[in-house]
């Protein structure tokens, strides 16, 4: 045995699982792996050998956009089976992560409330309005979204999310789900070796799995994390403490924070932008510009834009828009990111839009993005700008 199976690292905030609860979670991970490696490749065959030919017969030309591909693929039995199974795997993932939390939530909440270690802080704001783009549907099908609270000092949504991220990425983001943060830190350190941020903000930090790499990567910096979901932040705070790392978490909307002008050297986010809205994304970029000191950087980690992708690849990559409660996914991948930055005030420098290599290289890497294989590509899309 190679011993290369990546299990999530234990920490004090992580829900404890029984033997069978854990086995159920690992089944979901294996199920997702099977879909990626054995079912997903057949989609290309089904398209080339069946759906595309059917389209050509009907229209006398090749499919030229996502709508053309959808018009035939939605009727293809292999696509139907893959979609049905992928949607099922997503629901099973949340369910398998919920079961131990449902059983032990009171204990988890009590334990998080008295967690010790590190010098980090937690500042909640019960009056914060949860934005409509969070409450309209439960994003990526997590029942209750990022914000729902069931009991006092609730951590349920965070506790579920932490385990689900590991299962969703099938361990490909490393044992601490840290790959997005780690990869961005590595990119900054290699591309901007003289950049030494003293104050860092992670927007939409959820459980802080991408935030902690900045604490270890820039040990001299003061690191802040904001999110709209209180259960995420309570859990993130306990999680950081259990690892003895200092982060200052506060419940805020990234569109408008209470931090002072020009008070950060680095503002980052990790798969936040596609979970906002056409109006909100503009506000977020503006807020980044306001918060940054001259010379500071904003860097948003995302999945790559659709531009340049074939109609077939775009169709598959777009699956989450309509099938995984990611309503802004499509539009966010079609935006003119240079114009977006300029509208937000970033006129000092051109934007960077690059594919940065993953910092976590233990698993086989396809170097491409495909539906149902989050974190498996071995690259992240970075969108950013220096002020």
């Amino acid at each position: 045995m190679s011993g290369s199976y990546v299990e999530q690292n234990h920490h004090d905030a992580l829900p404890k699982t029984s033997h069978d609860e854990c086995a159920r979670q690992h089944f979901v991970r294996s199920f997702k792996e099977h879909l990626v490696t054995s079912i997903h490749p057949g989609l290309k065959t089904a398209y080339e050998k069946r759906a595309k030919i059917s389209f050509q017969k009907q229209h006398g030309r090749d499919p030229s956009d996502i709508k053309d591909v959808a018009s035939v693929m939605k009727h293809d039995p292999h696509y139907q089976a893959w979609s049905s199974l992928l949607r099922t795997s997503q629901e099973m993932m949340w369910s398998a992560a919920q079961i131990p939390v449902e059983r032990s939530l009171r204990e988890l909440a009590a334990s998080a409330a008295k967690s010790e270690g590190g010098q980090g802080t937690l500042r909640l704001n019960g009056d914060l309005k949860i934005p409509d783009y969070h409450t309209a549907v439960d994003i990526h099908c997590q029942p209750g979204g990022y914000h729902t609270e069931y009991i006092a000092d609730d951590v349920a949504q965070g506790a579920i999310y932490d385990r689900a991220v590991y299962l969703y990425a099938m361990g490909q983001m490393g044992p601490d789900n840290a790959d997005m943060g780690d990869s961005t830190v590595s990119w900054l350190q290699s591309q901007q070796p003289d950049f030494k941020p003293q104050r860092i903000l992670d927007m939409g930090c959820s459980v802080g799995h991408s935030t902690l790499p900045y604490v270890t990567g820039f040990p001299e910096a003061e690191v802040h994390g904001i999110d709209v979901g209180a259960p995420m932040l309570r859990y993130a705070h306990a999680r950081a403490k259990s690892k003895d790392l200092e982060v200052h978490f506060s419940q805020q909307n990234a569109e408008k924070t209470d931090f002072e002008d020009e008070s950060f050297d680095l503002v980052v986010s990790h798969i936040l932008l596609h979970e906002t809205s056409a109006a909100a994304i503009k506000n977020v970029i503006k807020e980044c510009h306001r918060l940054l000191k001259p010379g500071g950087w904003m860097v948003h980690v995302e999945t790559p834009p659709y531009e340049g992708m074939s109609p077939f690849d775009t169709f598959l990559f777009d699956w989450d828009s309509e099938n995984n409660n990611e309503p802004f996914w499509r539009r966010s991948h079609e935006l003119d990111l240079q114009a977006l930055a300029e509208q937000g005030g970033f006129t000092e420098h051109p934007t960077i839009q690059v594919m940065a290599p993953s910092a976590f290289q233990e698993t086989q890497r396809s170097m491409t993005f495909q539906g149902g294989d989050f974190g498996g590509g071995g690259v992240w899309f970075l969108y950013g700008c220096q002020k």
């Binding site: 086995a23 690992h26 696509y79 099922t88 059983r103 009991i151 349920a156």
Partner: protein
């Protein structure tokens, strides 16, 4: 079982994500059936994993090894008991198919709507 049994401390969480659930096959019942099949496959896998744990613990404590299992020969009584259990299992799984035939075989069988009419009718037989 204590770990998964429900008790008074259990907090009921929302189990359905807000947002319309898409279906993919022309008959959404196929999607539902596939979802149930995968859930069953999951539970089967959980059981197999538990057995695997038992075997590994047994081997580590020198109780019995994987080879003991592979080379274990069932005697006739054990085989018979197992075969009987298989039949019960199959009977339960294929119950819906068999019951259709059982119904066809029944000498007289009233239309269910007629039964409702019969019991609802105050002037009818009691």
């Amino acid at each position: 079982m204590s770990a998964s049994s429900l008790d008074s401390d259990t907090v009921s969480l929302k189990r359905k994500a807000k947002g319309k659930r898409p279906f993919y096959f022309s008959d959404s019942d196929v999607d539902k059936l596939l979802t149930m099949v995968m859930a069953l496959a999951g539970e089967l896998s959980v059981t197999r994993d538990r057995l695997d744990t038992v075997e590994r613990i047994a081997a580590s404590k020198n109780l019995f090894s994987e080879e003991d299992i592979e080379t274990f020969e069932l005697d006739s009584d054990a085989l018979e008991a197992r075969a009987a259990r298989h039949q019960i299992l199959f009977r339960e799984i294929t119950r819906v198919i068999s019951s259709e035939i059982e119904e066809l075989d029944r000498e007289s069988s009233s239309n269910y709507d007629q039964v409702i009419e019969m019991v609802e009718s105050e002037g009818g037989r009691n």
